[in-house]
Symmetry: C2
Subunit: 318 residues, 2 copies
């Protein structure tokens, strides 16, 4: 099959890869569209060691489903953590923290920039008819945005600041706006801020942060500067959610976390069913985030495009 292939930091298109063979309990999915995420760009930059097909945001059609023929032909999104089901985190219901997990396009499992991928059937979620592929491909990042509300209670009237108006920051902002919180999104580039303003979401540059006022700050940049802005925004006893991964080990002013009794919460993958429901209802609408689309044959160009500073979502038709 055709797929993007990452090895070292070299990304190349290959036509010589075998189509994946689903294991017991797995499905073979023909990928329809895959989205480029910052994590993909970081993999290419070598921040995590990974060799294989990248890509974890996708919508596809099931072609084979071992022991579950009712899935065949269904359009699906898929949770990216393939869990063992037997370790302590799996038993505790935290399958995304499985000790033996593989992760689609990230850890020991070929991903979505390919004609086909394989995933456990238990990871699949049927995409409602009304949901276009271009929207359904945002299920995974929308679920990730929703994860923080599984971890931290956000109430109407809470003062919330989102740091970063990129792809993830935008989805985080849309999902937070539904809570009735007082929301401010802080970003650098005018264009993504304008997209948010068009949805009625307040925006500002870093200068617009009122120091020590926010109940909650959500860091969506993955840069130490963003964490510092979040710390500046949050009130004593407030909460900072880290929604982006970081490379290296940033210096952190831990004394301030103690003196101000700040809570810092790391946040990763989230729940697919509410993400699909919100996308289907239109209450979360990612369409304005799509900046470009390329066929899989031009996926290298797609990655170059996605790596431009300030680029929003780039899709790959697989």
């Amino acid at each position: 099959m055709r797929a993007l292939w990452l090895e070292g930091r070299a990304l190349r298109l290959r036509d010589d890869l075998p189509t994946p063979v689903p294991q017991p309990g797995e499905a073979l999915v023909r990928v329809r569209i895959a989205g480029i995420c910052n994590t993909d760009l970081e993999l290419v930059r070598g921040y995590y060691p990974y060799a294989g097909v990248p890509g974890h945001e996708f919508v596809g059609t099931v072609e084979q489903a071992s022991g579950a023929p009712e899935w065949i032909g269904r359009r699906v999104a898929g949770e990216i953590n393939a869990a063992c089901g037997a370790c302590p985190p799996c038993h505790a219901g935290h399958r995304s923290h499985c000790e033996k997990r593989t992760v689609l396009g990230i850890v020991a499992r070929d991903g979505a920039f390919a004609s086909h991928l394989r995933l456990p059937i238990v990871n699949l979620h049927a995409v409602p008819e009304a949901l276009s592929d271009d929207v359904a491909v945002f299920t995974e990042p929308t679920a990730a945005a929703l994860e923080l509300q599984q971890q931290v209670r956000v109430a109407a009237g809470d003062h919330v600041v989102v740091i970063g108006a990129g792809k993830l920051g935008h989805l985080v902002a849309q999902t937070l706006a539904m809570t009735g919180c007082r929301l401010l999104v802080v970003g650098r580039s005018p264009r993504p801020l304008a997209l948010l303003a068009a949805r009625g979401i307040a925006t500002a540059t870093a200068d617009g942060i009122e120091p020590r006022q926010a109940d909650l700050a959500v860091e969506c940049t993955g840069h130490p500067d963003g964490l510092e802005l979040a710390r500046r925004a949050v009130r004593p006893r407030g909460t900072i959610v880290l929604k982006s991964t970081y490379h290296g080990k940033p210096e952190v002013d831990l004394a301030r976390f103690v003196v101000d009794e700040i809570t810092l919460v790391g946040s990763r993958c989230g729940p697919f069913p509410p993400a699909l429901a919100l996308l289907a209802s239109g209450r979360v609408d990612p369409r304005a985030l799509v900046e470009a689309r390329y066929p899989l044959a031009n996926a290298l160009t797609a990655f170059d495009h996605a790596a431009r500073p300030g680029a929003m979502k780039v899709l790959v038709d697989c």
Copy 2:
């Protein structure tokens, strides 16, 4: 009056200081005993800028009480944050986070290594008759230990690891042991670990940490190594409480906090009434922690003693 005086990093005994004059709403307290805390040692090392009388753990007797004569003659412990009562944190009930606070012996308010100190009357708590001075002087650090249970729910059976078996770690361990959690205290020196073992609390050196098993890890060392041990101990989705202040800006592996969805909670001053009740009932018993006591005239020697590696609590009779 006689007092210890810190200026730059120079600590000296002075006999030429005026006795404090209580402001409206304040009491004048004759200090009976004061305890040396790691924060005091850090002030002397210059980690925070402070000029004045250090000391914030004390038991004393009220000599003057502006407008509240019923306090005169009472033995008291005192909360260390003097709040304005008018700013947003004060209005939210978080007086210890007052934007304009002074802090006894730490921020712009002369402290307890003196014959007298002044504090707002609202900060005072009467010490029950049955409680000896030597125990009552532990009210402030016991309250600080209890603070984490105001912030994080600890349930019977939870797997909890305390990093550090020093003065604070010991009190944290005693207060956590009451919850019925499965408790392990990790330390270096045999003597403090033996004190804990004598109370039936399980202890280990760092090698004894089972990786990624603890629901909660409490960092009581104030060293980046301690935070790294806490991170190693805690399970995915677990919680780390920072109970010690840090100097400098340690490097923190934030990516792991995101991937493992760890929550980090800074924790500082705590509630006095339950601390006094637990000390009065004997359920928390700090007596074994007292390593030495000195008169105020020998307070410089007391500080040298307290700064020895592995030293436990040193008291100063004021």
